[in-house]
């Protein structure tokens, strides 16, 4: 499941860094970004396609802040007995509300994000996961966000 680091050349790195945010909303946005990088539009599109297919990038497009759209986004955790881990992972992942799910090394060994269009949808998803898996879900709703921005550099 965990991919090995993919070898990136210098142009790939510059593309990943240049596309962290601020993508133009204009008629030919890729051409504008490509020009800034000294690339042709076709080469940028080709490399972007490869970076996405190689899963160096998991996504390219608008990042929505679901709370501003009336929805909710909640981190939740479970303590899953090792013997039941695969079954529970499958059950949890089967819910469309589960956006991300990570195994972590801790007694709380499954951490996932629930994203729903309506705030009430979180409680319903938690109840459904508890009913499906027979295990309690611990929600950790965000109370405050401290200066979050993309700072990763490829």
């Amino acid at each position: 499941m965990r991919p090995d680091p993919v070898p990136l050349d210098d142009t790939d790195r510059r593309i990943v860094n240049a596309l962290q945010g601020g993508f133009p909303i204009s008629d030919e946005p890729y051409r504008e970004v490509a020009a800034g990088l000294g690339l042709s539009e076709a080469e940028l599109l080709d490399r972007l396609d490869r970076l996405l297919k190689a899963r160096v990038l998991t996504r390219f497009g608008p990042m929505f802040q679901i709370e501003r759209l009336g929805g909710a986004f909640v981190l939740a955790a479970m303590k899953v007995p090792e013997a039941d881990f695969e079954r529970v992972a499958e059950q949890v992942n089967s819910l469309p509300e589960v956006a991300h799910n990570y195994r972590r090394e801790h007694a709380f060994n499954m951490w996932f994000v629930l994203a729903t269009e309506k705030p009430g949808g979180i409680d319903a998803a938690v109840a459904r996961i508890e009913a499906l898996t027979g295990l309690p879900v611990f929600p950790f709703p965000k109370e405050r966000e401290y200066f979050v921005e993309m700072k990763l550099h490829a």
């Binding site: 499941m1 945010g21 190689a54 929505f64 009336g70 709380f108 269009e117 965000k142 405050r144 401290y146």
Partner: protein
């Protein structure tokens, strides 16, 4: 449509059409417009408004931390004095190696931690060094801390609004 217009059905259709990603074609907004039965100008105007209102955080790429070499991803968690958490949380969030930093409720007795900070590095020694820096910054306002390393991505689809 006024700038302050609330999120409407066409915005919702735009979210559904772009949540999988922006089309990789020379005129991506025209491609969306065609799919949605709008003009490209309308698509661009709506995207600009969603950016202004914060409904869209940014338009860009989401790197896979593992694939770009940040193979050690630690969710660091801290039990911080409630009287000081907002001041200290802001300081931790401003550190350049912290990508996400949130205050969350404790769940006692099993979970005493109220501050979560994601730390990425190329190896666990690197994460541990950064944990020491955070611990120094928090000082005696922090009673306990832990780090949870991710060992497997079980699912990663991002936001999904139903069609």
């Amino acid at each position: 449509m006024p700038d302050a217009a609330p999120f409407d059905e066409d915005d919702r259709r735009l979210v559904v059409a772009t949540q999988g990603g922006l089309p990789l074609v020379p005129h991506p907004y025209h491609a969306l417009a065609e799919r949605l039965g709008m003009t490209a100008a309308e698509v661009q105007k709506r995207l600009r408004r969603l950016l202004e209102t914060g409904a869209i955080r940014r338009i860009g790429a989401v790197p896979n931390h593992y694939a770009i070499g940040y193979t050690a991803n630690g969710m660091t968690v801290w039990d911080v004095d409630d009287a000081r958490i907002d001041e200290l949380g802001a300081a931790v969030g401003a550190l350049d190696f912290v990508t996400h930093c949130y205050r969350r409720p404790r769940c006692l007795p099993e979970w005493p931690y109220n501050l979560f900070a994601m730390v990425h590095s190329s190896n666990r020694e690197g994460v541990q060094e950064k944990i020491s820096l955070i611990a120094n910054l928090l000082g005696d306002a922090c009673r306990a801390h832990d780090v949870l390393y991710s060992s497997r991505i079980l699912k990663k689809t991002g936001l999904r609004i139903a069609d």
